[in-house]
Amino acid sequence: MIGPSLARLSALPSMPRWMQNGLVTLAFLGLWQLVVSVGLQDEFWVSSPQLIVERLGDWQEGGELWDNLLPTLRVALTGFLLAAVAAMVVAVALASSRWLDEVLGWYLDVIYALPKPALVPMFLFALGLGDSPKYVLVVLIVFFVFYYNLRAGLGEPRANLRNALGILGARRRDVVLYLELPTLVPYLVASARIGAPLALVGTVFAEFFTATPGMGNLIERASTTIDATGLLAGVAVLTVIGALVDNMLRRLDLRIGRWRA
């Protein structure tokens, strides 16, 4: 991601970024609560942090939270992994054959340019209102993130290293195991960091229209019943999940990237 890595050197040298973000979030929530408590804005329109926390408690007790969150996470994760594996296979295949690359890569570039969410009505129409349109959308979005990153990784010039390994007596298997795969790891992690939030958002967007349980379904239901609290409670859950996943992947990125200097 471009944004978060730009923390200005001169700004708050002593405070880590997560603390800055936490403080700002707390200040924002406090201000929001204050505006509603004082009566400047009606709870009906803007809800309030207190109401949202109460609603989340209700959902936790009534089971709505897990009944909707788990299906969403399942679809997002499965779609994400399917896309990653498919992209790996396709990227390796196209990188190893110039002819295939010229023929199929051309089509892939065109498919990449399609506005994917605009295809959702078509998927719903052809595949029904179950889980399958969600999977199709998530795979279609995440596939290209991995595909283009892996192509960049596979295109990295490594002829010198490969020759050196050959002189040292490495077999084909050793080259793949100790050179090809390790060079791809940073590209995989970078793809995961871009793809994971997209998988989550893609799933939720498709769930606006499907009939199976999911966070998008929960939010859509809240919006049709003009229930700002329910809507924002759903948004809050997704925001927290997104931040947690990004944090995990960033740590992984740092740990894996260390040896690359």
């Binding site: 700004a11 009505p121 078509m122």
Partner: protein, 268 residues
Amino acid sequence: MSASSPSSRSTGFTASVWVARIAILVGALVFLEQAPGTWVPKLFLAKPSAVGERLGEWMGFGDEDPILWDALRTTLLHAGIGLICGTVLALVIAFVVWRSTVLARSVEPLMAVIHNVPRITLIPLFVFWLGNGDAPINVYVIGTAFFPMFYNALQGWRAADRQVIDVLSIMGARPRHIFATYLLPQSREFILSGLLIAAPLTLVAAIVGEMLVGTGIGGMLSLYRVSFDADGLYTATVVASAVGVAINTAVGRVNRRHRTRMLETGGL
């Protein structure tokens, strides 16, 4: 790669590539033309010939109203207005953050926090607050264009040479002079790069917003889906896809000419 450099690539290779590309396209079209009614229930797919016919009607080659142009204009306006307003807003806020160390301490983390909220889930809220019209779409598209522009501009200005700025201000230049004569030209590449990332994203955002509100091409997609009009739905999908491919092609061309530092953000 010397063996396969473009000059040594034989014409036979190029010919076989084009034959294969066209064969795939023709095969897909023939399949789609034959499939409905034979392998797939008629309701689920539209024949390319029916799509072509409907497209002709929408463009005005028949007795029907040429509804395509209005829808296209609406969608492109949503995308364009969002891109312009989002860019201006992003440049203003990025400039504030870049200039002041005090404000930057609170504004920048605030942007990071807002950036983390999945925007797409907020559209129903915008509709709830602003009514079922253009306003929620505009807000959503502006929000989409904002972040690539904001982070790219900020990155560009932070790469600026502090010494040049110090010298300029010693010579009596005001911030706006420094901005116009040094900062903006110097960061041209970054801002162009932000625009190239944002442009295709705003189109997608406009269509997504329209799907939920019911105007433009996005509105057509929603309408024909719920009215089970397969030909209409697939035609609208083809139109949306064509616009997407056109914008991406233009972006790719500009990017190749100016070699910006475009980042693969893999947006929706």
